[in-house]
Amino acid sequence: MNFDDTPQEAEFRATVRKWIEANAPKEFEEELSKSSLGRIRLARHDMVEVGKAWQKKKAEGGWACLHWPKEYGGRGATPIEKVIWQQEEGVYGKLTQPFQIGEGMCGPTVMAWGSEDAKRRYLPKLASGEEIWCQLFSEPSAGSDVAGLRTRAEKKGDNWVVNGQKIWTSGAHYSDYGLLIARTDPNVPKHKGLTMFFLDMKSPGVEVRPIKQANGMQEFNEVYFTDVVIPDSQRLGAVGDGWNVSLTTLMNERMSIGARLATGVPEMFEFCSSLMLEDGLAIDDPAVRSRLASWAVKSSGLKYTSYRAISALSKGERPGPENSIGKLVSGMMLQDIAAYAMDLEGAAGSLTGESEELAHGQFQQMLLSSPSMRIAGGTDEILRNIIAERVLGLPGDIRVDKDVPYNKIPTKGR
């Protein structure tokens, strides 16, 4: 048992480190290093532009999407090499945020289901950041039950015509392409009537509108489709096989090993170490210590769980199912920590703003943003179902709409 690289890994790490040292945009290092629990913003620069420049440089050096095959813009690296890259990329990895949906979800789907022509045309440009992709799955009335989606695609000659609405699309406003799942046959049960496409986000009839979220920010979009034409050559997988294709996408979403999940624990520890309460420092208070300790062991538990997965990759094995717990644990923890930090501040805890005494307002922001952590990318409840069914082998829930034609399923509400 050790934390050391194998000789090959050490050599690879040294190569990566040298390249990053010579090429990283150091002018942003300080800004990116500041701990941040939400989305990253740069004060004087556009995140997407800075990100694109870094991604382009990485692609030229052969470091973009490095676990992809060379012919599609990668370098054919092993999974453990990808992890080492992420570790070494460090704070600059935050710049890759606009490309993560493309790299993690859209790209792998095109790779698995696209034609050779499509793969050669789209994947290298996705990898180099020249073209950004978004994912168009969720709808106002199809969230956890995404197979219940309503957006229609109808065949007209060699094309499909799409009408409907998607929601919670990150980056739709700066994306060039989108991965779209739509209903092509409402007369069969819901999972069977879906088909996957990709489309040019500049197509006529595509309208992107920002959503004002519960935390007051605008980070996601709604995307409306009005008679949008998609050529049949942009279909991924067979007609009616879209659900199966989407599993490739979602599987990749959950496989992000070694990803840096914010838990709020370091911020909370620092906060309690300096906050003066009536009887002294917060961290000297037994109640505070007990809460902190419980969060700290969850956070270290997640860290060492990911180390176990990395070790499996290092040995060329498939990591076990342990990593499915990451988002479930960290999402709830962020929300609990935020509320407790504010509780320690007393009545002033409700104040927002950047003042020093309120820890720069970070916990207030965290409180307002954290509900989304427990919903996006699989709600806590869906994640528990996945653990219960795929890891523990418990039976699936009874699905009353499973064998019912989609257009006979009762619907109501958003």
Binding site: M1, L292, G301, Y304, I310, E322, V329, A388, L394, P395
Partner: protein, 375 residues
Amino acid sequence: MNFDFSDEQKQMRDEARKFLAEQCPPKAVREVLDGKAPYDKALWKGLAEMGFLGVAIPEKFGGAGAGHLELCVIAEEMGRALAPVPFSSTVYLAAEAILIAGSDAQKQKWLPKIAAGEAIGTLALFEGKGNPSPKAINVSANGGALNGFKKPVPDGAIADFAVVAARTGSGSRESEISLFIVELKAAGVEVKPLTNIDLTRGQAEITFKNAKAEPLGEHGDGWSVISQVLDRAAVLMAFEQVGGADRALEMGRDYALDRIAFGRPIGSFQAVKHMLADMYVSATLARSNCYYGAWALSTNAGELPEAAAAARISATQAFQHCAKNNIQVHGGMGFTWEFDCHMYYRRANAVALGLGSLSYWEDALIDRMRKKNAA
């Protein structure tokens, strides 16, 4: 990175699991539970023959000389099987104290006997309620004779000897505590068995009246040794707890698959599934913290105090959580004597206290994290 047990260590775990499945089925645990024997003597002998008692004891003292990683995998299996034997008190507490502080002669005298299953040892630390603290120690040592009482002493009623923490000065400083080895059959030692919630493991009160005691380690060094022993034992006990948590989770899962209510397996109800998923999350977090503890223990790393506290807290929470919800998944059947659920519930809640309570370790973790952050 190789943050995992080796193939040989995993093989040893499989061997231990197989051995315990055969030699320590729930039926055997129940012999002790029902008061028919104070501990499972045949199992104790078998564990010695398998080399498990001396797995971390060097070969020159009669052990297998394997190491602490190997002891961790055995500990997990002991917890899983609820082995009703004085393993933790003898191996994690007494043997570790002697390994840390014993003279060559003391090691030569006790360790081979421990490895061979011929001597049961324990640590006599507590004196009534409260957590480990030098201030709580009142047993006095004068001229090689002890006076005072200890309780609870794990496995005290069946132990041959105890490592006893005693006061060799009158102040509250740590340096006024020293350790002694006391043979419990000797004159001046009175042992009274105590009942406790875990009927498969004994506790005792030991009274010393001018009992003959042999110093273990340097005079005034006792608390430092105790702290090291507790950290090591915390990691090892955490593996037992993770073993128990995993087994309780499996029992709950199996029952949820088997039991039909409202015309379907209860494991298809989300209320039950989510309870089991949360148990899996606890057990997984605990296991990962334990692995880090195992690494720190086996390399004697400076990180051990923090890693041990994290493993201990996480594993205590996981075992209590899984044992409690295992009963809940079983419903009424889980509250019968006949079903094994209560044995895990009893064990989970007893071992949660044995080395100091959860709040004691939470406190310790925060102190240790602060020390690290300040460094």
